[in-house]
Symmetry: C2
Subunit: 406 residues, 2 copies
């Protein structure tokens, strides 16, 4: 029998009616002769509301307790979904992350999955049950509840699919798949019917909110095909997999953008070994995620170092960086919250010159100033003024002919 793992996001299970609709979709898959494991997020804004509740008690809740608290959100949605299935005459069982054997490290709020002890899930599948697993959560070996970080229900789903050897992991969400650009910005953006893991990883990491990058990475590692589709329509979605044809690969696939970017520049650093470590280790310890890092060529043994962080972490990052900057003899620290980034992604860029030039020229013709550039083998990202990001996406979507029907 074919095993399919499905994941439904918070907006898909936001109320009783939607939960019943999701149950109908699951039953369709079950009736087609498949075994089904379903991963669910918490209903609607439950997670935020639980965090708000914690903040009414204390501004700095303990991370262990916060994990135990917010994990109840997915327990609620998973039990309700199991009830809905049973009410429709299908045997189903809900399992918390701990019960489903999702073992993680003990780093609360952002735990990593160590392994999945799938015994219970397999048992329940063998009994003919549809198994509903609470997403986003796991447990340490001491059975303390952990959460995997925001948006990580995708990761739960792909990890379960990998450990159970599922044929496909279907991620149902409120968008219809992966597009050539954000369709809210570019109305004629096209849905991609398929995309490679690496491209998807770059898109997810550089602003496309369709899927969590960790989940894509895991899918690539275990070669699990991932379908991203809408839980509200019957449309086909986008299949993320490793077998995307050569032809399709040979171009820019999509434009990603991200407005949640702030820039910090440490100016006038005496250039000597260990400077980067001195800056970035404390940031990592403070759990501040640093994105693009650019260091200028040194002039007279003095260099500048610029990096980006999420806007919400700018204040905290400056508090970490400023004393270090002073201690290493830098001249000053400058921050700018009014930036954003735009990226072009496609395996077609690999070993093919000219993409960077086309990108920079398209932006320049439109009078958009590039502040920073960072690249990977299949991606080019420009940091620009925040107010110009939407315009940049439009310009690039046209420049790389993504508006032309494939």
């Amino acid at each position: 029998m074919t095993l399919i793992v499905q994941k439904y996001g918070g907006s898909s299970v936001a109320d009783a009616e939607r939960i019943i609709n999701v149950a109908r979709r699951i039953i369709e898959t079950k009736d087609n002769g498949n075994q089904v494991v379903v991963v669910v997020s918490a209903m609607g804004n439950t997670t935020d509301e639980l965090i708000k509740l914690a903040n009414q008690v204390t501004e700095r809740p303990s991370e262990r307790e916060l994990d135990a608290l917010v994990s109840t959100g997915e327990v609620v949605s998973s039990t309700l979904l199991a009830m809905a299935l049973e009410a429709m005459g299908y045997s189903a069982i809900s399992l918390s992350g701990a019960q489903a054997g999702i073992r993680t490290d003990a780093v609360h709020r952002r735990a990593r999955i160590l392994k999945i002890e799938a015994r219970r899930v397999i048992q329940e599948l063998e009994k003919g049950n549809i198994v509903i697993v609470a997403g986003f959560q796991g447990a340490t070996k001491e059975m303390d509840v952990t959460t995997l970080g925001r948006g990580a229900s995708d990761t739960s789903a792909v990890a379960l699919a990998a450990s159970l050897g599922a044929e496909v992991c279907q991620i149902y969400t409120d968008v219809e798949g992966v597009y050539t650009a954000d369709p809210r910005l570019i109305p004629d953006a096209e849905r991609l019917s398929e995309i490679g893991y690496e491209e998807m990883l770059e898109l997810a990491s550089y602003g496309a909110k369709v899927m969590h990058p960790r989940a894509v990475e895991l899918g690539e590692l275990y070669n699990i095909p991932i379908l991203v589709a809408s839980s509200f329509t019957g449309r086909p979605g986008t299949l993320i997999h490793g077998g995307v044809s050569m032809e399709v690969r040979n171009k820019v696939r999509s434009i990603a953008h991200n407005l949640d970017v702030a820039k910090i520049t440490v100016v006038g650093i005496p250039d000597r070994p260990g400077i980067a470590a001195a800056l970035f280790e404390p940031l990592a310890e403070a759990n501040i995620s640093v994105d693009t890092i650019v260091q200028n060529a040194s002039v007279n043994n003095i260099t500048d170092l610029t990096f980006t962080v999420a806007k919400s972490q700018l204040h905290e990052a400056m508090e970490v960086v400023e004393p270090i900057a002073r201690s290493i003899g830098a001249r000053e620290c400058v921050s700018d919250a009014d930036v954003g980034q735009v990226s072009i992604v496609g395996t077609g860029m690999q070993n093919t010159p000219g993409y960077a030039a086309r990108m920079f020229s398209a932006l320049s013709k439109r009078g958009i100033n590039i502040q920073l550039i960072s690249t990977s083998e299949i991606r080019i990202t420009c940091i620009i003024d925040e107010s110009r990001v939407e315009d940049a996406v439009r310009v690039l979507h046209r420049a790389f002919k993504l508006d032309v029907k494939q």
Copy 2:
């Protein structure tokens, strides 16, 4: 070091402010040099709201799923309380029923505690932590979440106190203790400073909502003193224990009443062995709790049998009883939902004649008709018209001089 178990009910932790107040009370106990284990109920009406949510999905939710769903209520309150304590500088840890080692049978919605594997709780106490345990819940050996039935957080608390060898189990609630009658009915009812387990058990079973009878039974079995007091005031409360002095015992202690009573009479039953079993076994299987049972003396081998159930279970009980009544050749089944019961309780009644006579005479002088009588060694209960119950409590409170300051 002395170990104290405290339990806080739903109204004591109904919002963030009250949770912080409860944290202060706990800290007081901790600062007095005690180890503290705290059992909490769900915040305010959470349990009812979760059940309502389930009923939006299906009218008959699966009991296993319902248990997993409602158990989140106590996880939420216990984590918030642990956070509050930590924010005040005290190390604390929340544990779910499963984590606290509360092992139960697999009878969902009304599980019984089989044992408490207190290893984790003891470990955390030894680390100096205040341990907050989610009440009302446990887990089977397969780690499926169970609940102990309504009001059973008291049971969780006393069971933990027994298994940890606590000096006392303090039940903090929204009343100030056990009174000579319900103070909402009898404004000059007196708070009892102490009461025996057996008396408390009768009071709790016959309408006094101060404490859950199972918890009192458990306290008696393991000889754990139980203090019932208000979490909102600093008043001393009522101590339930085994060492109540002889003198105090020699009288009626309190008047209990209960309006949640309905009466079923099976009329004209051919009197032969096995009739009672034929009626009450199916009721037990349908999980209908039968209270008072009275069988009339048989005349011409024909008898009547009357019993009481909760009003909410009357309809269901009649559905079970009517076909049985027909099959055993009874003439008819009659039900009456407009009844209530009033009880006098006190070890002083033991081997002392005259209490029943005084009770019946007091009711009769007031024109209150007695429909059914049931007695234990330390309790006399009369089933009367529902509309006369309050009046009966007043009359009896005076008749047994409970209104006279002790």
